[in-house]
């Protein structure tokens, strides 16, 4: 638990070649600046890709590109860069696959999401975030929800949860991991629009 303040691990403390950043700087930047843009990015991608899985795959590709670019130099501000990468990847796809609808590449300006408004997508609205988390919690399957409640609200360990629910620790791990995935989608994903 001790290392949880920073997303970086031990190796992340070493300087990246040719820069004065560490991998850990890049990780915190990614969490702070890029992840909050996911809802807008998914909205943009879904405009061209009807299929949710395709949009998620492309979102992941965008993340990989921007992450790798950041290891060399952090793009600041993140938002225009992210959407440029997204558009280029979409265009590539259009060129390589014939199965494209006429509106394939949505117009960034028309969607009015690539403008950089500092703070607009920030997470500071704590009550809103709690509401998102709560509704995600309520949508979890019953046993999974119970495990997440015991872990996050009552602060029990996996072992204590296993005893309480009379299941194996392995099963607890699985419930928790389903919970992690669902909460991540609720917080970052496209589903409910965050304020603004």
């Amino acid at each position: 638990m001790a290392e949880t303040f920073e997303t970086g691990r031990e190796s992340a403390g070493t300087r990246l070649a040719g820069t004065d950043m560490t991998a850990s700087d890049v990780h915190s930047w990614f969490v702070r600046e890029v992840l909050p843009l996911e809802a807008a990015l998914m909205q943009f991608l879904r405009h061209s890709l009807r299929n949710r899985n395709e949009a998620e795959d492309l979102c992941q590709d965008v993340y990989v590109r921007i992450y790798q670019a950041a290891l060399k130099k952090i793009p600041d501000p993140a938002k225009p860069y992210l959407f440029t990468v997204a558009r280029n990847l979409l265009l590539n796809r259009v060129r390589h696959e014939a199965i494209v609808s006429i509106e394939a590449v949505a117009d960034l300006e028309a969607l009015n999401i690539a403008k950089d408004e500092p703070g607009a997508d920030r997470w500071v609205i704590a009550r809103e975030e709690l509401r998102l988390l709560e509704s995600a919690l309520n949508r979890l399957p019953r046993r999974c929800r119970q495990a997440v409640i015991l872990r996050k609200i009552e602060g029990l360990s996996h072992r204590e949860i296993a005893q309480r629910m009379a299941i194996s620790e392995k099963t607890v791990d699985r419930h928790i991991s389903d919970g992690v995935a669902a909460l991540a989608d609720a917080l970052f994903g496209e589903a409910p629009r965050r304020s603004r």
Partner: protein
Amino acid sequence: MSDQKSAQQVREEAATWISRRDGTMWSDADQSELDAWLAAAPEHMVAFLRAEAAWGRADRLVALRTAKTSRIAETLKDVLPTALRAVAAAAVIAVVGVAARDYLTTTNQKTYTTPVGGRETITLVDGSQIALNTDTVLRMDLGDRERRVWLDKGEAYFHVTHNAQRPFRVFAGNRTVTDLGTRFSVRRDTERFEVAVMEGKVAFDAGVKPQDKPIALLPGDVAIATATDVSIVKKPSRALAESLGWQRGLLIFDNTTLGDAVADFNRYNSEKLVVAKSVARLPIVGTFRTNDVEAFARVTSQVFGLRAESKGASIVISH
């Protein structure tokens, strides 16, 4: 890139790693295995960062702690072996002091104390309840004609069964709070004394000047007294309820400055938070477990993009 694993698969794998690391056993070997997985592909890393950030922020769910969720944890006591039960109980509340059952037949003074991070609820025979917050010393003398309590330090919440024939008074130094049928809380710090009324009415003698008459405080009134001064502010009931979050083991902040929030946290923990002057005025909104300094440091540093570093027995939050 269609030959890759789907984003969904990678996200599920990342979630599995977060859950494993969150679990009871996490060895160096596990860590190496995770490092190898992260190094294997950049999409692993981004998915992991995403899952890790979400799971960390889910700490905020603690705000939903209610009697109901606690009951789920409570029933744990029937199932767990004694040793584990003790651990679980300590995690939820650290309780010390004397059981309430044996003092009521006597009029002798009894002393109740809680350590830093502890809390305790005492139920009196007349149905009155007193909840002691962290680091509190309280003495009680229940006579036939008068019920008297001395708050030597700390904070306590009183839900008094009113009896005009047998008044209930709280003394703190030269200050007195007299119950007139009510729920109220009293907090005594070195420089400052505070009475907040949730329901009913109390008479408050701030003891600032001898000739001063007691002040009647009504629901929503919060009286703050220093050595020379008394002021009374009106607070909405939601704010008052939030200030009593400690009874559920919670600290609830609503536009509290980071500096004040940290001061609050430090009342409950031996591991102290230190906040740099330059960020002390940032406003915090959120709910935290009183004993979870790490979660507080992590959430605030993530939200504001600050650094939280362990230095000896303290955690320093800065730019």
